[in-house]
Symmetry: C2
Subunit: 335 residues, 2 copies
């Protein structure tokens, strides 16, 4: 029986799963991403989640075929390092040997690193809403807006930085993005940008229940759940900002489709998964007026693996059966 661990490393949470050779999830553990301790603190927390998940699944960490991690920042799988993962930890400036740190601690020889949205897209392609297609755009609508691309059945990463869908320009001279640029999709649709915008409008006297709901739920940020609750209550400001976000996403998705003519678009991420089909249906509809070949739109679907897609995709990086890819040996410090 083959057993692999997958870790979805995010700015808010670490989600870890154990999957078997049928890709069934036999254990799952979720913890908040530690805000202190820098990259080593994050590595320790990851190790903890893998130990807990292994205990749930009844497997020794050293008996895993391997561990896959999906992370933001700049990933060097061959070197086993993650660089500048500011979203995860503000201290994560330099290059940190994450694969070695995890592998050594757990006595596991195979640790693979990948980009979080790339592995999330791959999971939807292999097992989720994109299974029947050979070309795919995965859009992850959350704190930021990222994407993964599958062309001819294979991930496309360009020179290593493809998929920055969220920073495609949809409005020249438009809103300022959290990245500092102007008119990006993320400036309208990123949860971080939306929160800043909501704060600014509230300070200018607009009424909204968003921040009250946030406090009631004991949150420090406007989480996807907070937005969903405010929409249920038809909070005017929440509705307005989500509409604005969907308009930007629809134009951006249509732009990507006009350029690439992929068969399908899968929408996931915290907000995409939480708001689900009713909102994805609106994006699907609003995309059409911007599509050049509008009589033949791509399929637009909600991510099928939900919250676990990133962790499952991370695990899929490890070959089933535990074969070690040659270039990876260097990524692992012997325990």
């Amino acid at each position: 029986m083959s057993t692999r661990a997958g870790v979805d490393l995010g700015g808010t949470k670490i989600q870890t799963v154990i999957i078997d050779d049928q890709h069934a999830v036999s254990a799952q553990v979720r913890v908040p991403t530690p805000k202190q301790g820098g990259p080593q603190g994050v590595a320790d927390a990851i190790v903890g989640t893998i130990r807990d998940a292994c205990a749930q699944a009844g497997v020794e960490p050293s008996a895993l075929d391997g561990i896959g991690v999906g992370s933001p920042g700049t990933i060097d799988d061959a070197a086993g390092t993650v660089t500048q993962a500011f979203n995860v930890s503000p201290d994560w400036e330099g290059s940190f040997p994450l694969a070695g740190a995890i592998g050594a601690e757990l006595g596991c020889a195979t640790v693979r690193l990948g980009n979080d949205v790339t592995v999330g897209t791959d999971a939807e392609f292999q097992l989720g809403a994109g299974r029947e297609f050979e070309s795919l755009l995965g859009v992850f609508w959350g704190t930021g807006v990222g994407s993964g691309i599958i062309l001819r059945g294979k991930p496309w990463s360009g020179r290593g930085a493809a998929g920055e869908f969220g920073h495609m320009v949809v409005k020249l001279g438009g809103a300022t993005c959290t990245c500092g640029r102007i008119g990006c999709i993320e400036a309208y649709a990123g949860r971080k940008s939306m929160e800043l915008h909501a704060q600014a409008l509230k300070q200018r006297g607009r009424k909204t229940a968003l921040f009250k709901i946030m406090k009631q739920r004991g949150r420090e940020n406007l989480s996807s759940g907070v937005w969903a609750r405010a929409l249920e209550h038809e909070d005017e400001l929440a509705v307005e900002l989500i509409e604005r976000a969907m308009n930007a996403l629809a134009a951006g998705i249509a732009s990507a489709v006009n350029l690439l003519d992929v068969e399908a678009v899968v929408i996931g991420g915290g907000l995409g998964t939480r708001l689900g089909e009713p909102y994805v249906a609106k994006i699907r509809k609003r995309m059409v007026p911007h599509l050049f070949v509008d009589q033949h739109p791509p399929a637009v679907r909600v991510a099928a693996l939900g919250d676990l897609g990133g962790a499952i995709g991370a695990a899929l990086q490890v070959p089933s059966g535990g074969a070690v890819t040659p270039g990876l040996a260097s990524a692992v410090s012997p325990g």
Copy 2:
């Protein structure tokens, strides 16, 4: 000695070349695209240019290894048809068997059809400014704004309609495009859109020498040469509209690079080729503020094959040595 004909079929002109197995151009003929006679009239004109070019090159049309055509509209190479090439002829509504019509008339068994910008990009990739790269965005800045994409050394056409770069949205709620959509790159940078905009501003009392230069040159439209001359004279309106076009192109190119992270961008087309490096340099510079990975921009180059790139790319569709690709036999009516 292998000899191939290539035809670049455009809305304004038909450009035909003969190339040898070293890809050297041994003959070139250019005629205006006939405005009467519909698709058959266009086919007759193409046949005429091939006869003339063959005479120049000292080869019988029936001795050609094959003929390649690059065309706008919907291309079905296997069926040998071109459908809805409205840019070429307003009557070109249905499907016309262009390959058969040309091949039968000239006694040439191999006629290949391709999309005009796809073959133009392929020529730059194989022989021109994109030679040293494996991934490439070709941007053709002319009456419209089209593009071709090369990924992993191969053309990417999606489900058949990829490369509609000109209809990526760069300004939500912005200018109306000639395609009827809002905020497309082409609404700002397409020569047709720019001409309509210049006319509207002139009618509102703006001064410009654009239309005077057009008449002096005996043109019916603001050709690339007319724009170039007006820019040389620092015509205020011409400068303003070209600046606006370059801003839209720069944002659109950056958006495509953020999504695909290609190694290089080659800018051709009537305006791109005519205005050349000084203007491409401006686009290169204005792209950077929109690039997410701005410390590592792609190469941005002027198309090296100039006006002949489309015709050369069309010819490259024919295998050198005259081998008939199996699926193509059906595209040719015996003479």
